[in-house]
Subunit: 198 residues, 2 copies
């Protein structure tokens, strides 16, 4: 993280972020790297067919369990009729695009702040091409995931184009979700056997 | 996709899926592989700080633009206070867990149907450990994404344990989102320059 902001010049807020709080967080993580260890969680319940629902609330981070969320977030996966559902919700591959869009955006905005850049407007358009022969197991040579994901990013800010391009490359390299998509992350699935007493 | 269901024995619905419709879809895709090509999309608008919102509606698949969704789905990314937000929504890494949970679940349920297995209950618990030194660029040797993602899957069904384990391995291999996480998918980001006439 480059930090162009000095104590003398920095505003109280930049891009909607509390600059002093951000700098204090960075300083705390530098002093104690274990504070940077987070664990995020989701619980999901199948309903029927392609419909299922996640609840997301607690997580561990900055050295403790978080208790800031009084109510859980709930999100429903569904499928459109052409994929045997009733549009009960967006489908999982669409939720992944939402996660990717948000992560690249937040990473861009955060590092813009660290560089003293004011973002005026920022939006993205994503598209992911996928061949469902992979999901269906009709052709094992076809990958089940997207072949590629394209993001068009529209941004206006108070800096030259070349600075924006450098910031965008940095954000892409440092976005957690973009990294999860671009690089292999092991997924370990364990089937939990029912308690025999039940 | 293994198909244990014969015309004589198959029920009208299994695991909440219309079996005849599913079999007709599979037959159509086998006859014309181009029908398996889908493109999913999302548009995202930054609001402030770590808050941004996606709209998801149209997609291309089965040879045409889909028009089944009258209204778009909307989802808001946010961050908790410890990450400089106000819990405006779940954060992108949590949405990724939701997408992964849903995709593994739907893939499992779909292939259970194809094998003639009735699922009675299915739920998952996910956790993803992540070191935010990567996101913040404090240590370039730390990956920005999750080190790994763990899924505990609870399932009861009308088949032996070894059949469930085989089905689970198959679902993990054929789930689109699980593949996107486990294998590299290129993300191509293009900055769209504003129209100079504006």
């Amino acid at each position: 993280m480059s930090e162009n902001l000095t104590l003398e010049t920095r505003p109280s807020h930049l891009n909607g972020l509390d600059v002093a709080a951000a700098m204090a967080t960075i300083a705390a993580l530098k002093a104690d790297k274990s504070l940077a260890r987070f664990q995020f969680r989701a619980r999901n319940q199948w309903i029927k067919g392609g419909e299922n629902r996640s609840t997301i609330q607690g997580f561990y981070g900055a050295g403790q369990e978080d208790s800031s969320r009084v109510e859980p977030f709930e999100f429903t996966n569904g499928e459109p009729p052409v994929l045997l559902g009733n549009n009960e919700g967006a489908n999982p591959v669409e939720f992944l695009l939402h996660a990717l869009a948000g992560c690249v955006t937040t990473t861009f905005v955060l590092h813009a702040m660290a560089r003293g850049i004011t973002i005026q407007e920022l939006s993205t358009e994503l598209q992911g091409d996928i061949d469902l022969q992979g999901l269906l197991g009709l052709d094992e040579s076809v990958p089940a995931g997207n072949e590629r994901i394209d993001i068009k990013l529209h941004v206006t800010a108070d800096c030259p184009d070349e600075v924006l391009d450098d910031l965008l490359a940095y954000a892409q390299q440092h976005s957690p979700v973009c990294n999860i998509v671009c690089w292999p992350v092991p997924v370990v699935v364990e089937r939990v056997r029912p308690d025999p007493k039940n």
